[in-house]
């Protein structure tokens, strides 16, 4: 894009968007400043975004020792990783079936699958809790994962992806006598990588950030994930808040995805572009 070709109106829009983006980032700016500001709860310049000292890492140390961050990180990683692993299997298989196979009731079944897009697990917390308890999965990490092991969104995405792939390779493999699973695994999935990556990003982002279901599905603190830990961490009972400690704790929870995003920004945006499929 050459600057002299940009019409004036577009530049005005760009400037407005720039202002908007700055407004959008203010909460993060405050988080950064507050987490290193040592002055406690009563400082008169609590809200000032312009850094004024004294600065230090005490808030981070306090937050780290007050919460069980290593445990929360580990649990969150296990949950997100476990969900993703199972989802990749379930959505690839189902996506393939809907993309390539013709059978009676395919359309009806497909719509039945898509229902899950709407009937999201948070809405069904009450019956899902009962199911977890009868499966002896209540208060376990697999219990948090279970409702997400099938993904209508993933099936949908993989169906589109498979449909867009040429059939030549598969047909050659079929002629060679390869089984269908082998075909999916060795031929189609490597070709469908962009779709899977897009799905992985959406999946991990949403489960990393999920709160209500893990809150309901677990009770022992040893099964807490980051969001649940942060929520109990930020709620004091009787007095007031150490804002610096809260900011530092929030930073710990938000940091991993933010770092990954900034590092792989292009990839991320492309994946969302891809998964949106308009």
């Amino acid at each position: 894009m050459k600057a002299d070709r940009v019409p004036k109106a577009d530049r005005v829009w760009l400037a407005l968007a720039g202002l908007g983006a700055l407004l959008w980032v203010i909460p993060f700016a405050w988080m950064a400043v507050a987490s290193v500001r040592e002055a406690g709860a009563g400082a008169p310049d609590l809200a000032a975004l312009w850094p004024s000292g004294p600065f230090g890492w005490r808030n981070f140390a306090d937050a780290w020792s007050a919460g069980s961050f290593p445990l929360w990180y580990l649990n969150t990683l296990l949950v997100c990783g476990g969900i993703l692993l199972i989802q990749c299997i379930t959505v690839s298989l189902a996506g393939y079936a809907f993309a390539r196979l013709r059978f009676r009731g395919a359309t009806v079944l497909f719509y039945l699958f898509l229902l899950q897009l709407m009937l999201a697990p948070p809405i069904l917390i009450v019956p899902n809790m009962a199911t977890l308890i009868s499966l002896h999965l209540y208060d376990t990490l697999p219990g948090i994962m279970a409702p997400y092991c099938a993904s209508a969104f993933g099936v949908f995405l993989m169906r589109q992806t498979f449909r867009s792939l040429p059939r030549d390779y598969e047909e050659a493999a079929v002629v060679d006598g390869a089984s269908r699973l082998r075909i999916i695994w060795h031929v189609l999935l490597p070709l469908a990588r962009p779709g899977l990556i897009a799905f992985a990003i959406v999946s991990v982002t949403s489960h990393w950030n999920e709160f209500l279901w893990p809150l309901m599905a677990t009770s022992s603190p040893s099964n807490q994930v980051l969001t649940v830990g942060l929520a109990s961490f930020t709620s004091g009972a009787e007095a007031g808040s150490e804002w610096g400690v809260i900011a530092a704790g929030t930073f710990f929870v938000a940091a991993p995805l933010l770092v990954v995003f900034v590092l792989f920004q292009r990839r991320f945006v492309e994946s969302f572009t891809y998964s949106g499929i308009k």
Binding site: A41, D62, S65, A66, D139, F233, E238, A239
Partner: protein, 436 residues
């Protein structure tokens, strides 16, 4: 021979003790302020583990009192009860009604004490929330009452004598009005603030109703509350006037964060907060402040607050024994005193105040002494069946009044109706179920 036998026994016991793995138990705890207090609790438990090699306690921070309650209920229902919970004292009755916690009488008896002897070691005001029908269900651990905090500078600036805090409601309203400072339309200093969020709101309202001569709830039975009564309506009216007539208190609901921040920044003359906030205020308030009794209409009164140790049902006898050891250690005069000095809660154990450490602390901190002195007027803390829901009925009403959306009379009539509806299932199965 006898000597020989007992030596053998002792050796056997020792060997057994060494061979047996330590009993693992977990304890849920809430704390009033993030960060420091949670860290300190971990230190306290670390000391316990060091001095008790046969027990290994994991202390788990579970958030606010209400969060801790939710998590404990959920864990019990899922068959994974924690061994000890530091539970908001007014929830104990509901756990008894639901048959979810252990009666502690047998454990007390095993130590060779009667229930009365055991209870006599704690401040009498705590008895209402730790016993049910004469049986002990909770051991008071960190206790509080609502307290009036006021800024000395604000008092001086408003021409008030900081040595004469308000004693009656009349003084209180007069002082609150004088403390307000305005700068063309903007209020630069409020006369009074209190947290109006769920939990705190009900507690302070009950304190005002009690000092207005009321009882607020039936201390002996968990199915009755007194919202639509002159004493409670009067308490809500007092707040309504402070907000809407005198403009001495901001409209709407302010949370504890907003109240303490305003106090620290010199934008507030008086506030009501728990004694459990004493250390938080001490650490953050840069200018002089004092504490005083809650102002009275008819009588001095303040409900107790804070938390008791409970032992949920469903634990193995080994875990129960370990839990009881931990509970007794936590309320020993030394530990209770240490926790009290660190937090601002008063120590429930009377003997804690006879220790030299505690005596010098009380001499150095007159504010903590006010909290202790108020104990002689302390009452039980609102506790019923479905206590959170029943409390919320009142709080929704008070919040509506604070926001100018309802009159005290209408709000309390509605609150009473809602509370009665929530209590109905319990009432029908208990008080209304008479022999046929």
């Amino acid at each position: 021979m006898r000597l020989h036998l007992s030596a053998t026994l002792a050796a056997l016991l020792l060997a057994g003790g060494a061979a047996r793995a330590a009993t693992d138990i977990d304890m849920y705890f809430p704390v009033p302020v993030q960060g420091k207090l949670a860290v300190e609790m971990q230190k306290v438990i670390g000391d316990f583990n060091k001095s008790h090699p046969d027990i290994n306690v994991t202390a788990v921070y579970t958030g606010s009192y209400d969060d801790t309650n939710l998590k404990t209920h959920a864990a019990i229902k899922a068959g994974k009860p924690p061994a000890v919970v530091i539970m908001s004292a007014n929830f104990v009755r509901e756990y008894v009604i639901d048959n979810e916690i252990e009666n502690l009488d047998p454990l007390i008896a095993k130590d060779g004490q009667t229930v009365d002897q055991f209870e006599s070691e704690f401040w009498p005001a705590l008895k209402l929330n730790s016993t049910e029908g004469g049986h002990v269900y909770g051991v008071p651990f960190q206790n509080s009452t609502p307290l009036l905090y006021y800024s000395v500078d604000a008092f001086k600036d408003a021409g008030l004598d900081p040595n004469k805090p308000p004693v009656t409601w009349q003084d209180f309203v007069t002082d609150a009005k004088k403390l307000v400072k305005r700068d063309d339309g903007n209020t630069t200093r409020w006369g009074f603030m209190m947290p109006g969020t769920y939990d705190y709101c009900g507690w302070i309202t009950s304190a005002l109703a009690m000092s207005n001569g009321g009882d607020f709830y039936n201390t002996g039975y968990g199915g009755e509350v007194y919202y639509n009564t002159p004493t409670t309506i009067g308490a809500v009216k007092l707040l309504d006037n402070l907000v809407h007539k005198d403009k001495a208190m901001p409209e709407g609901v302010t949370d504890a964060n907003a109240v303490t921040t305003a106090f620290f920044q010199g934008r507030l003359g008086m506030m009501v907060l728990s004694t459990g906030a004493l250390s938080f205020v001490r650490d953050n308030m840069k200018t002089p402040y004092r504490t005083a009794f809650l102002p009275r209409a008819l009588v001095n009164a303040a409900p107790i607050g804070g938390a008791s140790l409970i032992l949920p049902k469903g634990n193995s006898p080994e875990r129960e024994a370990a839990a009881w050891t931990l509970m007794k250690w936590l309320v020993s005069p030394e530990v209770a005193g240490r926790w009290s000095r660190f937090t601002g809660y008063f120590a429930p154990r009377i003997a804690a105040y006879d220790l030299p450490d505690m005596k010098s602390f009380m001499a150095a901190h007159p504010n903590a002494k006010v909290a202790l002195d108020q104990l002689q007027y302390a009452r039980g803390w609102f506790s019923t069946y479905n206590v959170v829901g029943v409390r919320k009925a009142l709080e929704d009403g008070v919040q509506a009044v604070l926001a100018g959306k309802a009159t005290p009379e209408a709000a309390m009539a509605k609150a009473q109706q809602e509370a009665d509806a929530l209590l109905r299932p319990y009432v029908e199965q208990t008080a209304l179920k008479v022999p046929e």
